[in-house]
């Protein structure tokens, strides 16, 4: 019943009529996906710009007089928040989720297209509110991306008058918009798959995005709750989080609130957030590696189970972000244990990627380079995560550059490499043209080595004890001169990496007109999105009839076949891919 209703009834297909409904107020999942991607990348560029300002200050202190300590904290805060929430979450779930779920599952669109459209516009509103805080009196908040009270809303913290309120409001709007999108992704995966597409035949990209969406739907409410309570503390004078505190010599009127409560709520969102970003990356990397090694993914079933297990475990590790917060020390033992347990399914995934490459027919295409680069940076960041997951190691390393290096490796560089790889991979489907391979490779090597040049030395700086979040290091006795030159070197590397992203943008723009025509299936992949009748797929994706799926998504290296792969929708007796009559 629902199958016919959603998937194959043209009356439900809201066919676009005008330019406006086709490209602006569009309900087509592919257009919405591209809207999400472009918006996320635009705000991401702002975040890159902010990080450049931070690096200028850190590498060359007392040189740039337009950066003062308040600005610096605002840059840190906005860089972190934009990258984690407004770029990565929106790009993976709103962007790739929207584009890939219906195409990979063989649906014509999301199940609630109107809601999907509203979701994007609400997201855009959240971004605009966030951007507005740059122009508000006092500027954006400088509370750090974790927005810990009491300092987040006290006078003296940059942006305490307008910035923090706009930040919280923007987050609330974002969460509302995400919930609309998230409902769509989950229900589409559950209800709108084409015939034959069982859950265990879904490509791992869909699995990763699906599980990340489930996590986000359950975890974002924690951020919503804390944002609501902090707004009330700030504007109605309640004391949910605010203890009795003097501000500028005056009592604030708050008393008895618990800053620790905020930290629990925040990290109850914050840790799953890491996996909200990582799981789609895991899924996409699995597919990129499999396609480009011309081999089935090693241990498909294990990969699915690992995704589910990581998702479940990610809800019981949050307090490893709070070892130094003054919480009950016995908690530390529990959370260190769960943190180490979550390393098991994660390591399993890494082994499976490597084993897929093992004796594969590896094609070092641009997406493949990014996927392999991801495996490197992820192993790197993951291993330092094991260090920091242990209380005794974490306590001395807390608030040092070691932590900065760790989380940038594991949830900054790694997912961004996947984003780039995924864009290079699916760009031909989105536009019908290939990107320039030369520029792509240049972009990859500059980014890959560049990010190592930035973050590898930071581990060392952290072990020296260099504190993070400091505007300037000054003449502290344990900081040798070499640290200052290393900081300058890191900053120069960072400028190079940022500049090399312009190559990426140029490549995307240039290829739109001048790229080689891609054809329907340039990577010779098995999954459904490459089997659409037109490239780029038209509204409704599949022409008159939906595909029928006969096998899993990893039938590579087939023998006795004209190609080395068998598309998911090719019938077993080798007839030309037939479609199903509804």
């Amino acid at each position: 019943m629902s199958y016919v209703a959603i998937a194959d009834q043209h009356t439900h297909l809201h066919d676009p009529q005008t330019f406006l409904t086709k490209y602006v107020w569009s309900q087509d999942h592919k257009v919405i996906a591209i809207q999400y991607m472009v918006t996320a990348m635009a705000i991401g560029l702002v975040a890159i710009g902010l990080s450049m300002m931070m690096r200028l200050q850190l590498g060359f202190p007392e040189t740039f007089h337009f950066i003062n300590p308040s600005n610096y904290y605002q840059f840190v805060t906005m860089h972190g928040m934009i990258m984690v929430v407004y770029l990565l979450t929106a790009l993976f779930l709103g962007g790739f989720g929207n584009y890939l779920i219906p195409l990979m599952c063989g649906a014509r669109d999301m199940v609630f297209p109107y809601l999907n459209m509203v979701s994007y516009w609400v997201y855009l509103l959240a971004v605009l509110v966030l951007v507005a805080s740059f122009f508000a009196p006092g500027g954006p908040t400088g509370a750090g991306w974790t927005l810990y009270p009491p300092q987040a809303i006290l006078a003296g913290t940059p942006g305490a008058d307008w910035g923090i309120t706009l930040m919280l409001v923007s987050l609330i709007i974002f969460i509302v918009g995400f919930t609309m999108g998230g409902l769509n992704y989950v229900v589409t995966v559950l209800q709108a798959r084409c015939r034959g597409m069982t859950l265990m035949r879904m490509p791992l990209s869909v699995w990763g995005i699906f599980m990340a969406t489930v996590l986000a739907l359950l975890a974002f409410p924690a951020l919503l709750v804390s944002a609501i309570m902090m707004i009330l503390d700030n504007h109605l004078g309640t004391s949910f989080f605010m203890p009795a505190v003097m501000s500028l010599g005056e009592p604030t009127g708050h008393k008895g609130g618990s800053p620790l409560l905020f930290q629990h709520l925040f990290w109850f969102f914050g840790h799953p957030e890491v996996y909200i970003v990582a799981l789609p990356a895991f899924g996409i990397v699995s597919d990129l590696i499999s396609v480009n090694s011309r081999r089935h993914i090693f241990g498909y079933r294990m990969m699915v189970w690992a995704i589910v297990a990581i998702g479940a475990l990610s809800f019981v590790v949050w307090a490893h972000h709070m070892y130094v917060s003054g919480m009950n020390p016995y908690f530390g033992f529990f959370f260190a244990t769960t943190t180490l347990i979550i390393a098991i399914p994660t390591a399993l995934k890494v082994y499976n990627w490597v084993l897929t490459l093992w004796r594969g027919d590896v094609h070092l295409t641009v997406p493949m380079l990014f996927a392999i680069g991801f495996v490197f940076t992820f192993i790197n960041g993951g291993l330092t995560g094991l260090f920091l997951g242990n209380v005794t190691v974490d306590v001395p390393l807390s608030d040092t550059y070691f932590v900065v290096a760790h989380f940038h490796m594991v949830m900054g560089v790694s997912p961004v490499l996947v984003v780039c790889g995924a864009i290079y991979h699916w760009y031909p489907k989105m536009t019908g043209r290939m990107t320039s391979e030369t520029l792509g490779k240049l972009h990859f090597w500059l980014t890959f080595f560049g990010t190592y040049a930035i973050f590898l030395p930071m581990h060392y700086l952290g072990i020296l004890g260099l504190p993070r979040r400091y505007f300037a290091m000054g003449d502290t006795y344990f900081i040798p001169d070499s640290v200052h030159s290393m900081n300058a070197a890191i900053s120069i590397a960072a400028l190079f990496v940022a500049a090399s992203q312009l190559i990426f943008l140029f490549n995307l723009a240039w290829s739109l007109k001048h790229g080689k025509p891609a054809g329907g299936n340039p990577w010779r992949a098995t999954t459904l999105e490459w089997q659409t009748p037109e490239t780029p797929p038209r509204h409704g994706n599949w022409g008159p009839e939906l595909p029928v799926v006969y096998r899993w998504a990893y039938e590579y290296g087939a023998t006795g076949h004209k190609e080395d792969f068998v598309p998911q929708n090719e019938p077993p007796d080798g007839r030309i891919a037939a479609t199903h009559h509804s």
Partner: protein, 230 residues
């Protein structure tokens, strides 16, 4: 956080069990050939809107469970080195809340009546039930507002004590959810009065509104119990 972890564990448990039932153990690389019969049957399952609503209810459950967790954590702060930080002074709940609870139960009954009457083709009765469900919900919201006014008059301000603040926040957020429900209700009700009561989509709308009404009643009873007992 224990309460919340338990809720999430429950939701996750149901989810994993459900996945397992859906044969997460299939060896999909061996299952070459045509699709199996079970999957076609599965595709003819419940309407997407119904699944969508249940997923949404899971999100709202997470939201309220977190608030309730925060409630308990704020109520019982840790005792640090003999310093007692407890500043919780319970609210004396206005009696009107009992009336409101009865209204909300009546609203739920009305919606249930509408839903089942529609299934049996008794459109007049269905309209009556629908009207009762919506009006009771509106009356409930008005009653909640009165309760707020009474508390204000009695000097329970949001800023003066965390118990008061939680009272306003929890009742306010529950009310907002009900308000959102009333928006959908109004659309479904107007369709019923425009002679579309017999269509399948109207029946689905009414049924989903009913589920939502029952759910918000459940949330309210949990919140009311929590507010009364602390």
């Amino acid at each position: 956080m224990n309460l919340f972890v338990a809720t999430v564990a429950l939701v996750a448990g149901i989810f994993v069990w459900w996945l397992a039932v859906r044969r997460l153990t299939t060896k999909s690389w061996e299952a070459q050939g045509t699709y199996d019969g079970r999957d076609t049957a599965q595709l003819a399952g419940p309407a997407p809107a119904r699944i969508g609503l249940w997923v949404f209810l899971a999100v709202v459950s997470s939201f309220f469970a977190l608030f309730i967790t925060a409630y308990f954590m704020r109520m019982n702060p840790a005792v640090v080195k003999g310093v007692d930080l407890r500043d919780w002074r319970p609210v004396t709940e206005p009696g009107i809340l009992w009336v409101n609870s009865v209204l909300l139960i009546a609203g739920s009954c009305g919606m249930q009546l509408a839903s089942s009457a529609l299934g049996r083709g008794k459109f007049e009765l269905a309209r009556l039930g629908m009207l009762a469900g919506g009006l009771c919900a509106i009356a409930f919201l008005a009653g909640q507002y009165l309760a707020w006014r009474q508390l204000q008059a009695a000097g329970y301000y949001a800023a003066s004590n965390p118990a008061n603040a939680f009272f306003y926040v929890l009742t306010g957020l529950h009310g907002l959810h009900l308000l959102g429900g009333l928006f959908v209700w109004a659309r479904a009700a107007s369709r019923m009065y425009q002679g579309q009561a017999g269509t399948g989509s109207t029946r689905l709308s009414v049924e989903l509104c009913t589920v939502y009404w029952h759910y918000l009643l459940l949330i309210w009873l949990v919140l009311f119990g929590l507010l009364l007992s602390t």
